[in-house]
């Protein structure tokens, strides 16, 4: 395989998937952060797993639409259960979230363990840590493959999924920009509680679920949280203006993904070790380092 | 029962002294350069418009907030050395009323000094707590969970807790906010009885129309001190106009006719 083909197929494609995942998560992440609902991202990413497993059980395969419906369904079930606990059970919102998402995640893990998923790379290890390194484009033969429809059709399905999700989320954010921009300031009781109520809350929850399920393949359940929180948080420390904050989030997300992926793949080699380390883990770590730098130096960081 | 404090009001250090107190978050302090003295055995109101820094002042006095500058002295001593002489009654809204605790348990918190970290709650503690509940007419509610109480009842339980501390200086943050008339009368009766025993009371108060009737002294503030002193001298239309920026209607109705 030529150098270009190897770069294209083994580095560029998975790196792009990771970058799209990070950027797709950063968008709803910005609004979650501003509404002080960062932990909703925590909850949603835990509920994605059972959603996907149920979708697999019902359809027998891993395909975009069932996964998406499964994850969206799970997110909605979770939100409904949390509301039930808070309203009818008078449970404190953080406790309600923790209870619901732990229960759903535990159920998802057990279902997954008992399900025969040989043949699709869905197992607990991947659910937790993702498998970005393995989302390669084997059929790439060189830069000309980018213009070859046959070769393009062998791109990993996760690529198309991620691109589509990123597009949808971008369109959603553009469409509902004004409403999203003022939503952190609505002083409703539920908003103060951090519960996602109302059309905006629901839309945000679904957008986050979409990003989480699309990114699931790349980085797994838990590291999605890093993508929801760290780039937007770092961006928050850079500027007061919403538009600029979104811009910074996307930049930081992309930087985390690119740097993280490269460090994971090549870092060990540079240090003299043979194998690469987890790309997803490294991306999360880099996003944390960027947040750390922003916390120390960001112009808008003041408490 | 509760023991009386020395009746010597005029000499000796003020129960509460503030010197050049500056505190608050952010670039601009919420209160600046506050100098005030609250003599022992008096009952004072702290009044001012919204955002005047009244809450910040109270928080600084009880030590929940570190001042940027200035000092707080309780009976001539720094706060750290005289905490046992101070009792704080917070705003009702500051507490989660769904918390699993009963009325009697809340009042027992006032006996913390006696109990210490590990001491067991004994019969004498319960007796004392029930006494204090009796003083605010809440003895029948001892075993109720606090969320089952009305606003006025909750306020009285807070007061009973402060009574259990047996302090000499009482700091109250809006004790009459959101309570019914009967509770207000009951609370004022307890506070006046404390004053009669020689104790000192300082309350952040929101209702200007009752300042003259309830309190001996007043501190009017709006970030800085506007004025302080006995109600007859300090609680004037002019002072209120300075503090409230002329935004308040019917100022003359608040002020007793004698002061002009």
């Amino acid at each position: 395989m030529t150098g270009a083909a190897e770069f294209l197929g083994f580095t560029l494609v998975p790196m792009l998937i990771g970058t799209l995942a990070a950027m797709a998560c950063a968008v709803p992440g910005v609004f979650l952060l501003l509404r002080r609902q960062a932990l909703l991202g925590d909850a949603i990413s835990h509920t994605v797993l059972p959603g996907i497993v149920v979708a697999f059980l019902l359809t027998g395969r891993i395909a975009t639409l069932p996964m998406l419906l499964g994850a969206a369904g799970a997110a909605i079930v979770a939100v409904l259960l949390i509301q039930l606990l808070v309203r009818a059970g008078r449970v404190e919102p953080g406790t309600a979230m923790g209870t619901v998402f732990s229960a759903m995640f535990a159920a998802g893990v057990l279902l997954l363990e008992r399900t025969d998923t040989a043949g699709v790379h869905l197992d607990v290890r991947h659910a937790l840590m993702g498998s970005l390194e393995s989302l390669v484009w084997l059929e790439a033969e060189g830069w000309h493959s980018l213009f070859d429809p046959d070769a393009l059709s062998t791109l990993p399905p996760e690529f198309g999924r991620m691109a589509l999700a990123a597009l949808v989320i971008g369109a959603w954010a553009a469409l509902f920009w004004r409403a999203l921009a003022i939503s952190p300031f609505d002083a409703g009781f539920a908003a103060v509680l951090g519960l996602p109520v109302g059309a905006i809350g629901l839309g945000l929850t679904l957008a986050a679920a979409l990003a989480a399920v699309a990114a699931f393949d790349a980085v797994g359940s838990i590291l999605v949280i890093a993508m929801f929180v760290c780039p937007p948080a770092a961006a928050r420390l850079m500027t007061e203006r919403l538009g600029a904050m979104l811009g910074w989030s996307l930049v930081f997300a992309a930087a985390s993904a690119i740097l993280g992926f490269l460090l994971a793949g090549y870092g060990p080699l540079w240090l003299g070790f043979p194998s690469s380390v987890s790309a997803a883990g490294m991306i999360a770590t880099v996003s944390g380092l960027i947040l750390g730098l922003a916390a120390l130096l960001g112009p808008a960081r003041g408490a | 029962m509760v023991s009386a404090v020395s009746p010597d009001r005029q000499s000796g250090p003020a129960a509460l002294g503030l010197r050049g107190l500056t505190a608050g978050y952010g670039a601009e302090p919420a209160i600046e350069g506050i100098d005030a003295a609250f003599p022992a055995g008096t009952m004072s109101a702290i009044v001012g418009p919204n955002g005047a820094g009244k809450s910040t002042l109270i928080k600084t006095i009880i030590g929940a907030l570190k001042p940027v500058a200035g000092q707080v002295e309780v009976f001539g001593q720094p706060l750290a050395r005289s905490r046992d002489r101070l009792a704080y009654v917070p705003q009702r809204a500051s507490v989660d009323w769904d918390f699993p605790t009963r009325v009697i348990d809340v009042v027992t918190m006032g006996l913390w000094r006696d109990l210490g970290l590990f001491g067991r709650v004994r019969a004498r503690h319960r007796t004392r707590a029930m006494e204090c509940l009796g003083l605010v007419s809440m003895a029948d509610f001892a075993d109720r969970q606090i969320g089952q109480l009305s606003g006025g009842q909750q306020q009285r339980v807070f007061l009973a807790r402060a009574l259990a501390q047996g302090a000499d200086l009482y700091l109250l943050d809006e004790p009459f906010a959101g309570v019914d008339a009967a509770t207000e009368a009951a609370i004022i009766a307890v506070l006046h009885r404390l004053r009669a025993e020689g104790r000192t009371l300082v309350a952040v108060h929101h209702d200007l129309s009752t300042v003259a009737a309830y309190f001996d002294r007043v501190l009017i503030l709006n970030r800085r001190k506007v004025t302080e002193g006995p109600v007859a001298q300090a609680f004037t239309e002019a002072a209120l106009a300075r503090a409230y920026g002329g935004r308040l209607h019917g100022l003359s109705a608040m002020v007793p006719a004698a002061a002009e």
Binding site: S102, L291 | F99
Partner: protein, 298 residues
């Protein structure tokens, strides 16, 4: 086989493990009560995830020193140090920046976990088999627990429970009204740190039983369930301990009949079942009771 497991009839080791899980559940339930009542339930999630880099680092250090990398005390120490660092970072972020506690929790949770995952993949590239077993700390695996490990867990759970009992009243009062506590002279900051340290201790003790990802559930779900049954703070903590112990006990027993499954999810689902029953059936605060009262009033 389940019957035997429940009756502690599967042999000394299995019995010890089940009791260890029950002990952990008790300590977690009691300790978690204070987190829940203070409204900081999800702090437990961050603490749990923040242990991962420390665990793997401890493994690597022990291996480098020629010892058995999987010695539980060493791993627990690494976990504790790393989680303590995570707690410190969370405090720093909330104090020094405008970010809220939710963002601090989310950031520490995911970044520390990510770093831990990186280290895990380093371990996996080491000579075969040495890293096996570390991943059981993610979701718990009582089936592979050694006798000494069960002793350690029981001892740790006992110490944590005693500490919670001793400090319980002070932690309750501080949770209820921190402003009053501060004014009265209770060292609120130190009490908060003690409560966090207890949660951290329980997390570290529970690594092999329920794992770091789900320990948060064992901290908060029994307490949430207990709240439905009583209005007295001390009783909530005691009942939470009981529910936690029951979850640990049943979960470990069921897990013994299915050794290929991770223990954590099983224990959590038992705890959630107890919670659901409490939510629906508890007198006065349960949903059925409320509905009956509402209809009666109508």
């Amino acid at each position: 086989m389940l019957g035997q497991a429940l009756a502690l009839g599967l042999g000394y080791n299995a019995t010890l493990v089940t009791l260890g899980a029950a002990g952990l559940g008790f300590a977690a339930g009691m300790t978690g009560t204070f987190l829940v009542l203070r409204g900081r339930a999800l702090l437990g999630d961050a603490i749990g995830h923040a242990t991962l880099p420390g665990i793997v680092a401890a493994f690597l250090v022990m291996v480098a020193l020629g010892a058995d990398g999987r010695a539980l005390p060493g791993l627990m120490l690494g976990a504790a140090l790393s989680a303590a660092l995570g707690v410190w970072v969370m405090g720093w972020v909330t104090r020094r920046t405008r970010l809220g506690e939710d963002a601090a929790i989310g950031a520490v949770l995911s970044v520390f976990f990510g770093a831990g995952v990186v280290l895990l993949t380093v371990v996996q590239s080491l000579p075969a088999g040495r890293g096996a077993g570390l991943e059981t700390m993610l979701l718990g695996a009582t089936a592979s627990m050694l006798r000494q490990e069960a002793y350690l867990i029981l001892a740790g759970a006992a110490v944590a429970s005693l500490a919670a009992l001793a400090l319980g009243r002070t932690m309750l009062w501080t949770a209820f009204d921190p402003a009053f506590a501060q004014a009265a002279g209770i060292p609120v900051r130190r009490v908060d740190r003690a409560a966090t340290a207890l949660a951290l201790a329980v997390t570290v003790i529970g690594l092999k039983v329920v794992g770091l990802i789900l320990i948060v559930a064992l901290l908060i779900v029994p307490a949430a369930a207990a709240r439905f049954w009583t209005d007295r703070g001390g009783h909530v903590a005691a009942l939470a301990g009981l529910f936690g112990a029951l979850s640990g006990y049943l979960g470990a027993a069921i897990s013994a009949t299915a050794p290929a499954l991770p223990t954590g999810p099983i224990v959590v689902l038992v705890a959630v079942a107890i919670f659901a029953l409490s939510l629906v059936f508890a007198p006065r605060r349960g949903m059925l009771s409320r509905a009956a009262r509402a209809r009666g009033a109508a």
